[in-house]
């Protein structure tokens, strides 16, 4: 079930009404409702994989308890590694098995050996990367004595399977979400209203920005050989907005939905295209994944405790793993390595934490220097997106090669619907720039004129209805 579908528009109000009116506001009953709803939500996509989800949940729940009750450290370690291996094993089989087999066969072929390995004919269970990381963070936290295990299976299952975050994050932490699940939730009008605003903004980003950009992106990337350089630039820039609208739109809807149910999720995006360098971009893009890798990989690897070189090595590993997390393709690995290469100079010069505040804080416009910094960062990110979008590294390089031609100075093709898409992107940038110090691009709680607020809401609704492209699945579902 997609957030931008009629089914969800019917499903969620029913859950909302039952949640607040039919449960006596008792969190235990609310959790049962949330769990049943989450299984239904997931089962609408493919009910067969519900068993995998339930097994994965049960395994982490059980190993969590066994670790806490272990009589000695050895037993605790045993249970810990069992959980890690099984979790990563599932991920490996469903997501990476075919990639490794194909790559190995290709390697042998390069050495003149013929190899025929059978690959798996399975589809990737939606959200597996997300719920596996949920479970892993829980197990790692228990192993490191950061949290105590949750003894109620329903509560733990809601932590893993809570439908707003189940299939595309944000990747939650037990330390943040579990305490909210195990206590009574109170309906807060202002939070609920803001949740609705965030859902509306998320729908705008997904339906108007991402789905419209997708049409141009697909045409240009699928026919990159015959496109002019200016069209290739257009395609790459459109993809930057497509993936941002798609993923941050999803996150906004997820956060808003959860807030309507009285639960706060981790923020996942902080206006990343207003970043002044790559380090800042990574503090603002897919925040829940970046911080997950920081806490559960970078720090255990030694972080920066072993000096500059260790920090460089660990950062490089984080970027590669992060790239590979996105998909079993060399393009994602390259994308990770590309960002690592951009990050390294900042790290070596000790300038990676130069911009921790928001750009042009309290000002209407950025300074010229800030503007140039933002544009440069955006340009570099766009080049990275070419690798992310292209089906192979070779095609990505050919795409980039195509940019260096005199046709770069010609006007791009005026595709049908391009004008409305550019206008919508302009609206997106204006709102997000104006509200860049807030949590999301439609956080209008400071605007006291109620009429004006409603006018803005209706304008957004009208834009969604008028400009919205046909419904497409979310890109991050494939990860």
């Amino acid at each position: 079930m997609l957030f931008n579908s009629i089914q969800f528009a019917l499903f969620f109000p029913i859950v909302f009404i039952l949640y607040w009116f039919a449960t006596g506001k008792k969190f235990q009953i609310q959790n049962i409702l949330l769990l049943v709803s989450s299984y239904y939500f997931y089962g609408c996509w493919n009910w067969h994989f519900l068993f995998l989800l339930i097994f994965s949940t049960g395994l982490d729940y059980f190993t969590g308890l066994m670790m806490a009750d272990a009589s000695n450290k050895r037993m605790k370690q045993l249970w810990f590694w069992l959980s890690v291996c099984v979790n990563l094993g599932f991920l490996g089989v469903f997501k990476y098995y075919n990639f490794f087999i194909d790559s190995f066969a290709e390697l042998l072929t390069n050495f003149g050996l013929q190899a025929h390995f059978s690959t798996l004919q399975v589809i990737l269970p939606v959200g597996i990367s997300f719920y596996t990381f949920h479970g892993l963070s829980y197990v790692i936290d228990i192993y490191n004595d950061r949290i105590k295990p949750e003894r109620n299976f329903i509560n733990y299952s809601v932590f893993v399977c809570f439908f707003p975050l189940l299939v595309a994050g944000p990747i939650e932490r037990a330390t943040h979400l579990l305490p909210q699940i195990t206590k009574d939730r109170v309906f807060d009008y202002s939070k609920a209203a803001d949740g609705l605003r965030q859902i509306l903004w998320g729908l705008f980003k997904k339906i108007v920005i991402a789905d419209n950009c997708a049409k141009f992106v697909n045409t240009i990337f699928d026919n990159y050989q015959t496109q002019s350089a200016s069209n290739l630039v257009l395609g790459a820039v459109m993809f930057a907005f497509q993936i941002y609208g798609d993923f941050s739109g999803y996150s906004d809807i997820a956060l808003g939905t959860a807030r309507l149910l009285g639960i706060e999720l981790l923020r996942n995006f902080g206006f990343p295209y207003f970043s002044r360098d790559i380090a800042e971009f990574w503090r603002r893009w897919h925040i829940s994944l970046t911080t997950w890798f920081r806490d559960y990989l970078y720090v255990p690897l030694g972080g920066s405790r072993g000096g500059k070189w260790m920090s460089i090595r660990n950062t490089f590993i984080i970027f590669l793993v992060s790239g590979f997390w996105h998909g079993a393709n060399w393009t994602f690995l390259f994308w990770g390595a590309f960002h690592a290469a951009l990050f390294m100079p900042l790290l070596i010069l000790g300038r990676n934490r130069l911009h921790t505040n928001s750009v042009a804080e309290g000002k209407l416009l950025p300074s010229f220097r800030e503007f140039i910094q933002m544009m440069t960062t955006f340009g570099l990110v766009v080049i990275g997106w070419i690798f992310f979008r292209a089906p192979s590294i070779g095609i990505a390089f050919k795409y980039i090669e195509g940019l260096f031609s005199t046709s770069l100075f010609t006007l791009p093709t005026v595709f049908v619907g391009l004008g409305k898409t550019v206008f919508s992107i302009f609206i997106l940038l204006v709102f997000e720039w104006k509200l860049k110090e807030r949590k999301h691009g439609l956080e209008l709680s400071g605007l006291h004129n109620g009429m004006l607020r409603w006018l803005i809401y209706y304008s957004i609704v009208l834009m969604i209805l008028e400009f919205g492209a046909s419904s497409q699945s979310f890109i991050y579902f494939q990860f």
Binding site: I6, F187, L196, W454, L465
Partner: protein, 315 residues
């Protein structure tokens, strides 16, 4: 909570009531009131075709059919009839973005109603006919409930969702207010799209095409294999019904200025199933597709090409 619910109801409820009322009153797609040639014509070509068929069948007793997408607007049944037996009564079934499943649904409907299919032409678009996309959400593409075996309520709710566009609502109310007359631009017996096609056999090139400047020169591309297991089942089912009816049929892979060629594997499947002599391939780069004057737009060949195709296929 009470304040929240009231505000939500006000925000969504009032505009929604207005839109529902305007939908029922203005009947934007001509699907609420019963079908009549004197009432609003649905922009959904499948709905209009199918309703016209039901409306006329008792009197016309059709027995020969063309099935396909909007590309069928280049063909005309008057010319086709010349190659059929005297008792033939042809009818053109069209649907926007018609897929093989859509064609099968119509053929199955005819079988279920015991309507004999004496002659048939199936028009194949590359890649549209083999599309695996879910049902279209645009008003012009939503499948007729009787063919897709859905309820009328489901059908209307899909149309209502398609209606939820400010410009659509405005246009509908505007047309209703100004009482715009119904325009019938199809043959009310055979359902030929361009009524003038039957008279056009030759025409000076420069007078033929519209929007010539929108034609971008493209080179031939070969489509990836599109016929999967499920589509083979659909094709088998179509063939089975044709066999039951002893239908004389032709499968025409239509030309398009996009020059996308059917994949040889797909062509082989069609030829194997329907016999090589019944399958005609006009996709890819050829005499027709290399001349933009043969097209009304990049996807639709014009009536002159339609004449040429019928002549070639039946001679």
């Amino acid at each position: 909570m009470k304040r929240f619910i009231i505000k939500i109801l006000c925000f969504f409820g009032i505009p929604l009531l207005f839109i529902i009322a305007s939908y029922i009153i203005t009947d934007p797609f001509g699907t609420i009131k019963p079908f009549s040639l004197f009432y609003k014509m649905s922009p959904n070509r499948e709905y209009q075709s199918f309703e016209l068929f039901k409306h006329n069948f008792k009197k016309q007793r059709y027995n020969s059919f063309i099935f396909g997408s909007s590309r069928g607007c280049g063909l005309n049944t008057y010319q086709w009839k010349k190659y059929l037996s005297k008792s033939s009564k042809p009818f053109l079934f069209q649907a926007w973005g018609e897929t093989l499943t859509g064609i099968y649904q119509k053929i199955a409907y005819l079988r279920n109603k015991n309507i004999r299919i004496q002659n048939a032409i199936i028009l194949i678009d590359i890649p549209g006919s083999f599309s695996k996309k879910q049902e279209p959400t645009e008003a012009i593409g939503i499948k007729h409930y009787e063919l897709s075996e859905k309820t009328k309520l489901y059908y209307q709710s899909n149309l209502f969702i398609a209606y939820l566009k400010p410009s659509e609502i405005y246009n509908s109310i505007n047309a209703y207010y100004h009482k715009n007359p119904t325009v019938i631009n199809f043959d009310t017996i055979t359902n030929d799209w361009n009524k003038n096609n039957k008279y056009i056999k030759t025409c000076p090139k420069q007078d033929r095409t519209l929007n010539k400047d929108k034609f971008i020169s493209v080179s031939e591309t070969i489509s990836s294999p599109l016929i999967d297991k499920n589509m083979k089942i659909v094709l088998d089912s179509i063939k089975k019904i044709f066999n039951e009816n002893h239908t004389i049929y032709k499968i025409i892979v239509t030309p398009a200025y996009t020059k996308e060629k059917i994949n040889p594997k797909d062509l082989e499947i069609l030829q194997k199933l329907f016999d090589k002599k019944n399958v005609y391939n006009y996709s890819g780069n050829n005499e027709i597709t290399s001349d933009k004057y043969n097209f009304m737009d990049i996807n639709h060949f014009d009536g002159i090409v339609g004449w040429k195709i019928i002549e070639e296929v039946y001679n």
